[in-house]
Symmetry: C2
């Protein structure tokens, strides 16, 4: 087994483990009630369990593990971040937004249930995230709980994911230039990826002004992630992706691929990944999973 | 000026003051950015500023004032509760939910903007609420911040408001009996009203097991509030309400009025209000605004 294979195996195991852990956490958090709220909770389970790469929980867990935090607390905090990510997917897929029928290889929530249930399932997952973060299983220290909530609320709201989505929806997005697309994606995708890493640091009690390297790593992989997404949308396989592709092209939207060309985008994503790993150099081998994950982010086929 | 007039004047002033305070807080929290996120923030402002009775912020502020907390912190926490209430109104008004055109005397957000912006504005207000609660202006104590977040997240999610809304949407709601309608409304409306009072107690550092009287007050007025709402929907004035009425009747939905009759419902609401005020008896005159507010809740004409 050569160097590359060893690293691939380590990441493969980390991805498989986090998938099971997050599925188990959602399963325990979402028991189906014996009253007419059942369809709501079934819809939340449909969206939250058994799909997705779980990149955000793994980022959080790998960061906090590198910094010496117990896995159990980190998995639960990672599940809160994933709840935010899943709620945003449910709402983004709605007919009034991207109008998508398939997500993670399954019908979207408004297709499997109905639109009203999809709106509500997203809302309930949004609230669940903050409920999770103030549970004593995440941290018995309210200071940590409050910092986690602040970090995630800001990444989710108008100065983060929702703000990026609004920029994406704006009518003149077809004319965005590279700095504007970069800013848009830093909000839409980057904010939550950065929050995942930062929440790992918060769990490890890394003070605010000592998080610079970690946040720099997260920003670089956030951008690389989005460039890889644009490349996948441009040239990927719909079956593997589990969702419709080439929508950006159809809508004439500006993306990293239209602005830099496929080859330029690929080169930029790779450069960002190497730069990201460089930010973690002084953690040595402890940063192994985070570096593997960075490389996976640009090399994945879904 | 007789007894009734004095009490009416006190409440009138409290309602006017909280309206200004909450409007000012939202105005400061929601500056319109100079990029394409502007329509999102304009939509949030449209829904959040300049409308509504602000019952929830007043409940929170009156409770914490009664318990000796500074008004400034309480207004900000009350604004967080109102942000949750406003987000729920935006989503409830969507075409796939109640499909309403008017709210608080203005076009609903999806009418004034578009559906996608309405979904996103609701989501961004949802996140804003938790961002507010972890700000040091609400409390410098992370223990208080975390307790406020937990209380509000639970009131907003599947075990609270979202769960009640799901029960309301369930196809068989036409056959609900009185205990089920009571449970539904305790979740849909009651959870957030109770959270408003409980958050006032949290700000005042009232320990969990000493909040019984306050929570009993909140549960009673929550039920009275919904009975009054059903009465208004049945016999109110659409111009005063600022929204469409008689939708429950049209849809053949069971309400407190269909189950108890208008006279029975009115008597029950009044009995609940007296019972609510009884729970606060040992606070004497300090509970004045909370008792006035309880009476206003059943006597209001909008």
């Amino acid at each position: 087994m050569d160097f590359e294979d060893t690293h691939g195996a380590r990441l493969k195991m980390a991805l498989a483990t986090i998938r099971t852990d997050v599925d188990d956490a959602f399963d325990a958090l979402l028991p189906v009630p014996g009253d007419t709220r059942a369809p709501l909770v079934e819809a939340m389970r449909h969206a939250a369990i058994g799909g997705g790469k779980r990149v955000r929980p793994l980022l959080l867990v790998a960061t906090s593990t590198m910094l010496g935090v117990s896995r159990e607390a980190a998995v639960l905090a990672g599940t809160a971040v994933e709840a935010i990510h899943v709620y945003s997917l449910i709402h983004d897929d709605l007919p009034c937004m991207d109008d998508d029928d398939m997500r993670r290889g399954k019908p979207t929530v408004h297709k499997a249930f109905d639109e009203a249930t999809a709106v509500l399932a997203g809302d309930a997952l949004h609230a669940l995230a903050f409920d999770i973060l103030t549970d004593s299983s995440v941290s018995s220290d309210p200071f940590i709980q409050a910092e986690l909530v602040r970090c995630l609320a800001q990444a989710s709201g108008m100065s983060g994911m929702a703000g990026g989505q609004a920029m994406d929806m704006a009518a003149d997005s077809a004319t965005y230039d590279l700095p504007t697309i970069t800013r848009l994606q830093q909000l839409k995708t980057g904010a939550l990826l950065t929050a995942s890493v930062e929440m790992g640091a918060i769990l490890a009690r890394v003070p605010h002004d000592a998080r610079g390297h970690l946040i720099a790593y997260a920003r670089d992989i956030g951008l690389a992630f989005q460039i890889a997404d644009d490349l996948l949308d441009h040239e990927g396989d719909e079956d593997k992706a589990g969702k419709a592709l080439r929508k950006d092209d159809e809508q004439g939207k500006q993306t990293f691929v239209t602005l830099m060309g496929a080859e330029g985008a690929r080169a930029q994503a790779k450069a960002l990944v190497e730069q990201a790993c460089g930010h973690l150099a002084h953690y040595g081998e402890d940063a192994g999973v985070l570096c593997d994950l960075a490389r996976y982010i640009v090399e994945r086929d879904r």
